[in-house]
């Protein structure tokens, strides 16, 4: 899947979360997503960016414009070198929380996008890829 353009952002502070939102919005607009689809992608990006800080100790995100045949889309890959998620199946269940508050939000974020893959294990950090297609 060749990527037409890409950008990598660091996620260390809460201001970075805003940058990630804006970068995701810009890409989504470029692909021509409807307002609702843009909002879904940007919101998912916001959730995952925040998780990267809260649970991953900071990390980065790679934003890409992608093509699959004649379909166009936006793909975001979040990475951190944090402690990892011990029980993925549990974390993806709705309502799961490991800290205070509403939890990792992974299940919710997954519903907002078309593609969602996650690799994580204790000691190996976490990598989450989400994509939305037009």
């Amino acid at each position: 899947m060749p990527a037409e353009s890409h950008d990598t952002l660091n996620i260390r502070s809460s201001a970075d979360v805003v940058s990630v939102r804006q970068a995701a919005r810009a890409l989504a607009e470029r692909v021509g997503f409807s307002l609702v689809d843009q909002t879904k992608l940007v919101t998912a990006a916001s959730e995952l960016a925040r998780n990267t800080i809260d649970y991953g100790g900071g990390g980065s995100v790679r934003l890409e414009l992608v093509e699959n045949g004649v379909r166009r889309g936006v793909r975001l890959t979040f990475e951190d070198q944090g402690p990892g998620i011990p029980d993925l199946a549990l974390a993806l269940k709705d309502g799961y929380t490991s800290g205070n508050g509403l939890g990792l939000g992974l299940g919710g974020a997954r519903r907002l996008v078309n593609d969602f893959t996650i690799e994580s294990s204790p000691g190996a950090g976490t990598r989450i890829m989400i994509a939305r297609w037009k």
Binding site: V17, K40, T43
Partner: protein
Amino acid sequence: MERIPILKMGNFLLVTIQVDMHDRLALALQEDLTARISTTSARGVLIDISSLEVVDSFIGRMFANIAAMARVLDAATVVVGMQPAVAITLVELGLSLPGVRTALNVERGMALLRTSLNVPEEGDASGVP
């Protein structure tokens, strides 16, 4: 760090969120509002989010927290002007806003606050403070 301004309108406090808030700004707003409700004895808080294009779980929690803290201080909270795209996304996220009343715009929001608190408009001579 800039802070979001809070206006006083009679018995109510009005907040208009127009920027893409970062988390620290949101937390500051929570603190500022709680303090202001306390010092002004406001009976209601109206938060206008008609310019807000993204509400994620953190911001959602902020609204719920504000409503909870306001309630402890005997004030009601109404969030107004939520954009359709935001509402649809919140539903998909599975986020409800517990304890938060909503209205379509500032005008309706004010009416809602007044009726829910039985607080008359300014200038009413019924003697209720």
